[in-house]
């Protein structure tokens, strides 16, 4: 019944919706030595044959919820918290069905739980890992079932203890109640009896939306107090006895290598203990770590950094020494003159475009960008003879376990992974290269070490969002209706050196075929050209949606203008009414373009889309379906004569079905919007002579508060009673709404990101 824990689990979330069939395993109950009721997953075959002692038994339960005799409730959080609010949202689901006062709940982090079985490794605490905005959706049923089963046991315990009929009992927060009971019985008085009861073989009925007391209400972030007092512990805050500090000087050349190094000066630095070479992967081959380099281990972080500075390293520049993004962009144009791989071909595109009354063609360029989470990569590792302990800020603790196992050769059941709070993810920490590095250094030295990346390390050794050139062409009939559509993309695929990925599948993470307007425009073609470059690529928040939403939503605006149509009405006509269209990718199996139309109409109304505006002021709109959720943006901007841009106002709206944790939904929508405009305005990674040119926030300028309009309004439009994820939905439509507004205000069309100084140049020219 248990789901296998595999390398592909969630690693390909953008390709397929991930479900965890193992989550519906039989929950079990037990008691702690202190007399609390514990409910969780069975921890493995031998757990129940060895001992029946309550204490031992408890230890072997994959703990999820514990109800103490005083009525306090501890709920286990099995997922990494990267700022998306999962440590609050999932316990809210448990507490809802358990029917407790949220104020009595505390949340406790759980480590990675793996079990070895005859068929490989399975999850002990259910699938663990966050990406693809799936944290809530994957756990929606399971976490509610955990709460409901615990409540059911308490009701049954009351029935046994007071000899009343269970079906005549119900609960109010924290109490079992019934006219047959002598009084309302606090949960705490029932835990001992409940712990001794077996679970029935059918699951209780879950609550209807109308009866929710916690789900959908505004609750504060559970860790907020720890954060504002500085006691919240991130990976970087790990301190262990006898721990040493390590940094690595990594090859500045993509796929470069250490040719030789002189550590004489480095070893003289006060506190430097050891200096040694780290071998990188073969160029182009699957990788465990990204770069060849030299490790410096010292008694403090600063000593290690100083030691690294004192190293004399001669680099072998390697096969990508002449790579440059300038050449990459030029070659993209050349590539698009040829023929690529047709990956989607509906209807009769060729004849439709030939016979079209009017055609529109435009090209858009999307740069490589870095994740730059504010907590740079770091990892604590202590590799011993038979075991290994890792503390890592990671989105994928299972991947961290695999990385440590690959380095050390230890069986994974002997590798203990603690998941720290994570200072931002954005997809960077789906990769665990820094965990492998830390394990290498600990293994080589025999010491417990904390590996620290500097900001420069982080910006220069990332798995970047793929850059690409998109050529769009549409054919319209006499009425202005789109009858043919093509997107031709030359990009460096996100599938970077992945084993067992055929070349003809490299398009899959770059073009999501079922995105709007497929199945609405009959003659529809997608064509892909993979363009290799040494720059590593990976999942960057909402992966290809950020590129494709910008391209599609900009192009729709351009088609509307080129054919004399209103950009809003033109979009609404295309989107049409509520209906489910097939959507085979992540977020499917269907989507409803009518929900996009509803959001678009809403944000347009809020911003006063049709209002008369001053010269140099304009509004722009965009909407996009991302991994199951829907969002739209309206921007109002002004552009002065010198090309100065002011974002006057933003209206953002999300339809995430049922908003379980509205505070976090709003935060993600605000944050996604800001991420979208920060990236569109000024961020890009460039390569020259085989080296990344950016290194820190002076040349990779994330937005600061002054650039954020005071009027950034967020709205949640409820729909139905099932939640979607929210972590990525707020970003894709932000950038095109901004650039569409810029066009409306100034007549300047931004087709290449980032916007940077293009407005100033256009005004000057």
């Amino acid at each position: 019944m248990t789901a296998p824990e595999s390398a592909d689990w969630l690693a390909s979330v953008s390709d397929k919706d991930v479900t965890d069939p193992g989550r519906r395993r039989f929950l079990i109950t037990g008691a702690t030595a202190a007399g609390s009721l514990v409910l969780g997953l069975p921890a493995g075959g031998e757990a129940f044959s060895s001992s029946d002692a309550a204490e031992n038994r408890t230890r072997q339960i994959g703990f999820f919820v514990e109800i103490a005799a005083d009525g306090d409730v501890i709920i286990g959080s099995n997922q990494p918290e990267i700022g998306q609010g999962v440590r609050t949202a999932l316990p809210m689901l448990v507490a809802e069905e358990l029917d407790v006062d949220w104020a009595r709940v505390s949340v406790k982090p759980m480590p990675l739980g793996l079990l070895k079985t005859a068929d490989g490794y399975t999850w002990k605490y259910g699938g663990q890992g966050v990406g693809g905005s799936t944290g809530l959706t994957r756990n929606w049923d399971f976490m509610r079932e955990v709460g409901a089963i615990a409540r059911q046991q308490l009701i049954r315990a009351a029935a046994v203890k007071y000899e009343v009929a269970a079906k005549r009992c119900t609960t109010r927060p924290g109490y079992v109640i019934s006219d047959d009971l002598p009084r309302d019985i606090p949960y705490g008085e029932l835990v001992k009896t409940a712990a001794a009861l077996d679970l029935p073989d059918h699951n209780p009925v879950l609550k209807d939306k109308e009866n929710y007391r916690i789900v959908g209400t505004r609750q504060k972030t559970v860790d907020a107090h720890d954060i504002v007092t500085g006691v919240a512990r991130y990976g970087i805050d790990t301190i262990k006895p006898d721990m040493r500090y390590a940094v690595i000087a990594r090859s500045p050349f993509l796929n470069g290598r250490v040719k030789s190094f002189d550590d004489t000066a480095a070893r003289k630095i006060n506190g430097v203990l050891k200096v040694f070479k780290i071998d990188g992967p073969e160029p182009g081959a699957p990788y465990l770590i990204l770069a060849s380099g030299v490790a410096v281990v010292a008694t403090s972080t600063w000593a290690a950094i100083k030691g690294r500075k004192a190293l004399q390293i001669e680099w072998e520049p390697g096969p990508n020494a002449t790579d440059s993004t300038d050449a990459f962009w030029q070659q993209n144009e050349e590539m698009l003159k040829g023929s690529g791989q047709i990956v989607t071909d509906d209807g009769q595109y060729e004849s439709a475009i030939e016979t079209a009354h009017k055609t529109v063609q435009r090209s858009y360029q999307i740069p490589f960008v870095s994740h730059a989470p504010l907590e740079p990569q770091n990892c604590y590792a202590h590799v011993e003879k038979d075991s290994c302990h890792i503390v890592a800020p990671t989105q994928m603790p299972g991947g961290a376990s695999r990385a440590a196992a690959a380095v050390t050769g230890l069986p994974r059941e002997n590798i203990h992974i603690d998941i720290s709070r994570v200072g931002g993810g954005f997809g960077r920490r789906l990769s665990n290269d820094y965990v492998a590095e830390a394990a290498m250094i600990s293994q080589q030295t025999g010491w417990p070490i904390k590996l620290q990346w500097t900001r420069e390390d982080d910006v220069r050794h990332d798995f970047y969002r793929p850059g690409g050139l998109h050529e769009m062409r549409a054919g319209l009939d006499e009425t202005g209706k789109v009858i043919a559509w093509t997107q031709r993309l030359a990009s460096a695929s996100k599938h970077f050196r992945r084993p067992n990925k055929p070349d003809d599948g490299l398009w899959e993470p770059e073009l999501y075929p079922d995105d709007f307007p497929r199945r609405i425009v009959d003659n529809f073609r997608l064509e892909y050209f993979h363009h290799p470059i040494g720059l590593p690529r990976g999942s960057w928040r909402a992966p290809a949606h950020t590129a494709n939403a910008f391209v599609i939503q900009s192009f729709l605006d351009e088609i509307a203008h080129a054919s004399g149509q209103d950009p809003l009405q033109f979009r609404l006509d295309l989107l049409g009414k509520d209906r489910e269209l097939e959507y085979d990718g992540h977020g499917g199996p269907t989507y409803n373009p009518g929900r996009l139309a509803r959001l678009l109409t809403f944000v347009a109304t809020q911003i006063g889309y049709g209002d008369k505006r001053k010269k140099d002021r304009g509004v722009g709109l965009a909407t996009h379906f991302t991994f199951g959720g829907y969002a739209a943006h309206a921007f109002e901007v002004s552009v002065d004569d010198a090309g100065g841009l002011i974002i006057e106002r933003i209206v953002a709206a999300i339809d995430c079905g049922l908003a379980v944790h509205p505070q976090a939904v709003e935060a993600q929508l605000q944050g996604g919007t800001i991420d979208g405009i920060s990236t569109a305005l000024g961020l890009q990674i460039t390569v020259k002579d085989g080296q990344v040119q950016q290194g820190n926030f002076d040349d990779y300028p994330l937005l600061r508060i002054a650039a954020i309009p005071a009027r950034l309004e967020t709205h949640i439009l409820p729909y139905d009673d099932v939640p979607t994820g929210v972590g990525e939905m707020g970003i894709p439509s932000a950038a095109p709404a901004l650039t569409n507004a810029i066009f409306n205000a100034s007549g300047i069309r931004i087709r290449n990101l980032p916007i940077a100084d293009q407005l100033k140049k256009a005004r000057a020219g």
């Binding site: 700022g83 508060i705 954020i708």
Partner: protein, 157 residues
């Protein structure tokens, strides 16, 4: 040997004089509330107070700290565990997402509000420059205004 005060306690550091205060706090004093984000004074995650003024500790050599008084996020509340009004406002607005930058944001705000007790949005724009990668800026702005009100109320009592 450098002698200085951290959160009202006398401390000494006998390592290299060029060691940034941030790493002295984090590695040697095990005060990990101030965070490393950039190492070049850009992001402000490492903001602490030196004699009451906000400074970026990642670019502040320990040699400059002789006889100074340092306050970190751990020492911002009073001795009885009462949170500073800026911390209270941060909680009331529920500012944090990943939370990594927030200690620095709070320390920067405390100093900012000393100079601008009734700040306008423009004052905030001109003076608050710490980076938040999650994009909590809308709530940071709200919390700054709320903190200003809380502090004024406190003064009136």
């Amino acid at each position: 040997m450098i002698s200085f005060r951290v959160n009202s306690k006398q401390v000494r550091f006998d390592g290299d004089a060029d060691t940034p205060l941030l790493w002295v706090l984090r590695d040697h004093l095990q005060l990990t509330g101030a965070k490393y984000g950039c190492g070049i004074g850009q992001c402000g995650a490492c903001t602490v107070h030196i004699d009451g003024k906000a400074q970026r500790s990642c670019v502040l050599p320990i040699a400059a700290l002789a006889n100074k008084s340092v306050t970190t996020i751990e020492g911002l509340g009073d001795e009885n565990g009462q949170l500073h009004p800026v911390q209270q406002a941060w909680l009331a607005v529920d500012v944090p997402q990943c939370g990594y930058c927030q200690a620095g944001q709070i320390m920067a705000t405390v100093d900012f509000l000393q100079k601008h007790p009734r700040p306008s949005d423009e004052d905030i724009d001109n003076n608050m420059s710490n980076i938040c990668r999650c994009g909590t800026y809308v709530r940071i702005r709200d919390a700054i205004h709320q903190a200003a009100k809380l502090m004024q109320k406190g003064e009136q009592q």
